[in-house]
Amino acid sequence: MKVPSQMSFDVEAIRAQFPILRTLVHGRVPLHYLDNAATAQVPEAVLDAVRAHDELRRANVKRGVHALAEAATDAYANARTKVAQYVNAREDREVIFTSGTTGAINLVAHAFGATLKAGDEIVLSGLEHHSNLVPWQLLRERTGVKLRFLGVTEEGRIDTGDLEELVSERCKLISVTHVSNVTGAITDVAAVVRAARTVGARVLLDGAQRASHGPVDVQALGVDFYALSSHKMFGPSGVGALWGRAEILAALPPFLGGGEMIRTVTLEKSTWADIPARFEAGTPPITQAVGMGAAVDWLAQVDAAAAAAHTGHLADRILHGLRAIGGGNRRARVIGPQTMERRFPVIAFAVDGAHPHDICQILDSHGVALRGGHHCAQPFHESRGLAGTTRASLALYNNAADVDAFLSGLDDALSKLT
């Protein structure tokens, strides 16, 4: 994400819509929430939609003929439409509600994975979240597929220069992150898609970190699957979505079996419903999906470019601040691109002699919510000789006071720890 000049963006008006931002941490200090890459907060519009659904339309979806069942079914279908519009799907049925990004990737690993055989290859990268690594390792154990890994550049980007060497005729899928949850780097999706198309492979993007920063255009990206999580997009937890090209999804076998995903069932055999129901066995997370629909509605009405300029400037201040803190044994190293060029405001850093959990604990006393550890990207951290990093991640409701509190709190932490 290149940082444009700062545009008019009323962050205080945004903040006013998030009740949790008015709370005091430990009953005494304002909350400075910089853990958005893990989970974003929820605006009143989403809270209201969730409550209204359970107050007025709570019922199981599909099949029921009573009024509440019909209202709930409509609300669930509307939520699917909203998510489909948010990612620019060609059809609503291309959106499958899942438990989240992890659930979405596991769905592909099972359903698409069932079409693969030993010796087929899947290309991943060394920058992936465990949710885009472990499902493929499990598939390798089930089927004997081979996993190959794109490298990571010194700057913390997926090295698409490896594509030519790694993507062969045996490659059936390239599955990579759209935006790294550690380095914030944006993947060169066009290069990935080009490489995949030369051999007829499919492309899956892990969009967990990207989808909270404005609408996604899966058609323009040219990919085949896109996975996202509601709770990172200002919506409820427990729900997410898999977008997939209709013709690809329609050709895949089911993943989970149960109610709602069948056409007919006899004691001898069953036949499958069309998509998306084929991949939504059992009662879905109805209220959560309605909340996710409200969240993408809310996100869609935000000026994404202005929000990006706003968070980009804040992130720039953090990057500069981390460099200023440097010196002697207190040098902070940003693990990822050093500027906001082609990256999102997810900033991980390491300080020699200061453990991420200790930094996070002391920052918490300043009301600053950060995350420390390997961020479910253990292979990447190990490749850098790190057990973990400290991560500050921004959302559109963050403001200058959040950055000030982070930098002064970090200064305090380092004075105690180093």
Partner: protein, 138 residues
Amino acid sequence: MDTLYKTDVLRLAAQATGAGKLADATKSITVDNPLCGDRVTFDVKMGADGKIAAVGHTVKGCVLCQASASVIGANAKGENAASLGAIRESLKAMLKQGAPAPAGAWATLATFTPVSGHKSRHECLLLPFEAVIQASSD
């Protein structure tokens, strides 16, 4: 909150009593905390009497983890897996139920009383105990 990082804890961590490899260890065990990636290795030399004769530890972890390993490094000699298990249970009770810290040589563990209010950090203190207990077991 900052009481977690009061001088006594930082001093214990900085002392790093028993830090380093033990060349003639009877057994060496490494344990990991999968949640944060912390890693603790304890080398233990057992005496003919079945008690610990010497320990060495290598900690890739936070201040609390380092301080806990340091307390073990200072007091493990003469203990065995069973007695260390009892001390670990006392530490757990102190952290989770507000029980008093162990008496005697291990009274230093009282330094960690402020950690009781931070459940996510309990494992930081317990991980070194897990390593040394495994390393001193048959």
